[in-house]
């Protein structure tokens, strides 16, 4: 490694800090505007033209707010928790490429690295929960840990299907391998798993149970204010953006699209294509927030362990056979559609079976205790 390499790394990390700050500010504005439109409001309008300066005003307000540490809290744990949540969210971006040439550093184990690093932030949420010395915070922290761990598995096993077909964990190679067909066509099950588990991993609605204000009043972040709180929200939006970018890279062909053959124009147009796909994914995620109500925690865990995980394993199994025996490409698409259809059919059969029962018959009591 030479000094030039180090210089490039430091420079690109510095540029990226500016980039991610702008992205987060833009996302908060876009989300508020989009949700407002769905609810037939117009959203922020007062600060600047079309309320464009609203995120800046919010940032200044958060900076000028008292950064309170509650009296009986575990001071060190409470103070350091936002760092533990934010740093993994930031480090995961090291290996995410924006075009073939633009990335901080392309790692050989890209996708595995991203998922390993982003798993660390669970520790930060738990620290926030326990450091606050607050019952709601402790409950929310535990819920967050349970949810993040449970949805990590369908996410990882779902992505495995893509890694098998591409034959590499390098994100650049994965995009390059989508030359003929986007992986959403070969791995629709993995795509759905990735979106559902990704939403749960960033704790966005309908999976925002750990921070549900109607149940645990803000969860692990209840005692936080000012700058400490805004770091959690910064990490959440950085993660949301990461999920959208990864979905575009892994399944939607990344930066592929009609573009000039070479030169800087090619890079620019390709980055624009990625931006278009990512914006679509983000709009869908914000839209889901406005239309789907929050799940219950037992439903949440059941979905992860009894629904998504078996489906993810089935997907890996089918993909393995498809690749090993060299079946034609349409077979994997057909099998994936079969898996999805089967899962939906099974769900509705079980639901209608439960529907038939009267409400009281669903509860079973043994030795004075409700057991099911």
């Amino acid at each position: 490694m030479s000094w030039t390499d180090l210089g490039w790394i430091v420079l690109s990390v510095a540029i990226f800090i500016g980039f991610i700050t702008v992205v987060v500010l833009a996302l908060t504005y876009a989300e508020r505007k989009l949700i407002a439109r769905v609810q037939q409001r117009i959203g922020p309008m007062r600060t600047g033209p079309f309320g464009l300066l609203q995120p800046v005003a919010d940032a200044i307000k958060l900076l000028a707010k008292e950064d309170l540490t509650p009296g009986r809290s575990d001071k060190a744990t409470f103070w350091i928790a936002p760092v533990v949540v934010f740093v993994p969210a930031f480090v995961a971006w090291v290996t995410i490429p924006f075009t073939r040439d633009i990335a901080i550093r392309n790692l050989e184990f890209g996708i595995l690295f991203i998922m390993a690093v982003s798993g660390v932030s669970v520790a930060g949420v738990l620290m926030a929960g326990f450091g606050s010395f607050n019952k709601y915070a402790a409950l929310g922290g535990l819920r967050a840990a349970a949810q993040l761990m449970s949805y990590e598995l369908p996410l990882v096993v779902g992505v495995l299907g893509v890694v098998m077909i591409a034959g590499s964990m390098d994100l650049r190679v994965i995009v390059a391998e989508q030359d003929a067909v986007w992986y959403i066509a070969l791995q629709p099950v993995a795509f759905l798993l990735f979106i559902i588990a990704g939403l749960a991993e960033v704790m966005r609605p309908p999976f925002d149970i750990p921070v549900a204000e109607s149940e645990v009043a803000g969860g692990p972040f209840i005692e936080y204010s000012g700058m400490h709180w805004s770091m959690f929200s910064l990490a959440e939006y950085a993660n949301t953006f990461a999920v959208a970018v990864l979905a575009a890279l892994l399944f939607l062909g990344g930066w592929r699209g009609p573009a000039p053959e070479s030169g800087w124009a090619q890079d620019m147009v390709q980055a624009l294509w990625l931006l278009v796909k990512v914006s679509g994914m983000l709009a869908a995620m914000f839209w889901l927030r406005t239309t789907i109500p929050r799940l219950r925690i037992d439903q949440l865990m059941a979905v992860a362990w009894k629904g998504l995980l078996p489906v993810a394993f089935l997907n890996v199994l089918l993909t393995a056979f498809y690749l090993y025996y060299g079946w034609p490409a349409w077979t994997i698409t057909a099998m994936s559609c079969g898996v999805m259809g089967g899962a939906v059919a099974l769900y509705y059969r079980r639901r209608s079976a439960r529907r038939g029962m009267p409400e009281t018959a669903r509860v079973r009591v043994e030795r004075g205790r409700v057991v099911g």
Binding site: L6, Y136, A217
Partner: protein
């Protein structure tokens, strides 16, 4: 190759430090700018405005969190084995036994999931 590897993970180190510096400088700026006014009322745990229920600030932890954590550990370690396998199992120098062995491994673990399911570990009550 070694040089490349070193450069790759230097980038990770630089990003870790930069991320931490970014957060800490935010805290520092808030320390300089924001007001501080301590009071006894602000120090009590927030429980939606009422006086907090007496007792410890931490609740007891149900055993089910532990069980889910154990299950997670089993499957996540499996994922660590699955990823290298997924990259190489189609290679020409790899014996066909590698393919079937991993299927057996996955089968055993999946049996574990079914066992936990039947034992009622996956019920959240």
């Amino acid at each position: 190759m070694t040089g490349e590897y070193f450069t790759d993970y230097t980038a990770v180190l630089v990003a870790t430090i930069a991320g931490a510096v970014m957060v800490l400088s935010g805290f520092l700026a808030a320390m300089v700018v924001s007001p501080r006014a301590r009071s006894a009322m602000k120090d009590i745990p927030y429980e939606c405005g009422v006086v907090p229920f007496p007792g410890r600030g931490w609740t007891q932890t149900h055993i089910r969190y532990y069980l889910f954590a154990i299950l997670f550990l089993v499957f996540d370690v499996e994922a660590v084995f699955l990823f290298p396998w997924a990259v190489i199992f189609l290679g020409p120098e790899v014996a066909s036994a590698v393919f079937y062995e991993m299927l057996v491994f996955m089968g055993i673990l999946f049996f574990g999931l079914i066992y936990a399911w039947k034992k009622g570990v996956l019920e959240w009550r």
